[in-house]
Amino acid sequence: MDEHTHEHGHCRDLLGSLSDYVDGTLGELLCAELEEHLRGCSNCRVVVDTLRKTVELYHMEAEKEALPPTVRERLFSKLDLEDYLKSG
């Protein structure tokens, strides 16, 4: 089996496709080429898996956060909107 490293060769070439790959927007040909490479390269498999996980974790963390009440009050007062400051 080929010896792949992240400094040289194919791994490096495929780096540019990884973002589209985890988004599922990579073209069919490049996708097939990348998946073929992934079968033989455990380093790239780890990079793809952890890249996907990274994006996923940030998505999960972005759950709806409320504006802190004091921040909201000061914003409304700065904008002269106190009249519209219903209890949040």
Binding site: H6, E7, C11, R12, L15, G16, L18, S19, D20, V22, N43, V46, V47, D49, T50, L51, K53, T54, V55, L57, Y58, H59, M60, E61, A62, K64, E65, A66, L67, V71, R72, R74, L75, F76, K78, L79, L81, D83, Y84
Partner: protein
């Protein structure tokens, strides 16, 4: 807030106070969150939040419906954040990845496979702290692209609109940002991954 934004634009442009109050009410939580992650500091984020809506209020009469209202608000907010960063740390804001939008992306360094760690650990208080810390290691231009695209869930097109750059630049910066965050998280979790492997043997 992309497609769910439904405001009376004519009323907003005419200076309707109650419609503007509704806009602030519905959009400010997301804008604040973006600013907080952009600036990494609550006081700075609040300053930028107020300045962004003051600016929006002033510019509403000139709002041209070439982009959506939400993209327009994001653009104002990001500009406010970038201005704050330039004010606080002039030496950091310039240079540093700015304009480095070549396709030549740095290769991944860390190879700890943290996918195997339990979600409860990755998303613990400490885990979330690491997510926020890692975002702060990105240069401001990369941070802006990452937050709009992956946290606020804007499309590539909308992100490009909000930042006034091409879609290709968005894609290149997004790839760089994601790889950098991946490296940061992988480095942070590497000891835990190694420990878990030993436990499993």
């Amino acid at each position: 807030m992309n497609d769910r934004l439904n405001f009376d634009i004519a009323a907003l442009k005419a200076g309707d106070r109650s419609e503007f109050a509704r806009l602030v009410e519905e959009t400010s939580p997301k804008i604040y969150r973006l600013l907080l992650k952009m600036l990494g500091d609550e006081a700075d984020a609040e300053d930028a939040l107020q300045d962004a809506y003051l600016k929006a209020l002033r510019s509403l009469p000139n709002f041209e419906e070439r982009s959506s209202l939400s993209t327009w608000l994001y653009r104002i907010a990001v500009n406010e954040a970038l201005m704050q960063i330039r004010k606080r740390k002039p030496q950091v804001a310039l240079g540093e990845d700015n304009g480095d939008d070549s396709e030549d992306v740095p290769a991944p360094v860390e190879l700890a496979d943290f996918c195997c760690l339990p979600e409860s650990e990755l998303m613990s208080g400490e885990g979330k702290q690491q997510l926020n810390r890692a975002v702060q290691t990105l240069s401001p231009p990369l941070r802006a692209v990452f937050l709009l695209r992956d946290v606020e869930d804007l499309s590539v097109r909308e992100t490009a609109d909000a930042l006034g750059v091409s879609e290709q630049v968005v894609k290149t910066r997004l790839l760089r940002a994601r790889l950098k965050l991946r490296d940061e998280l992988s480095a942070y979790w590497s000891e835990r991954v190694a420990a878990q492997k030993v436990e499993g043997e």
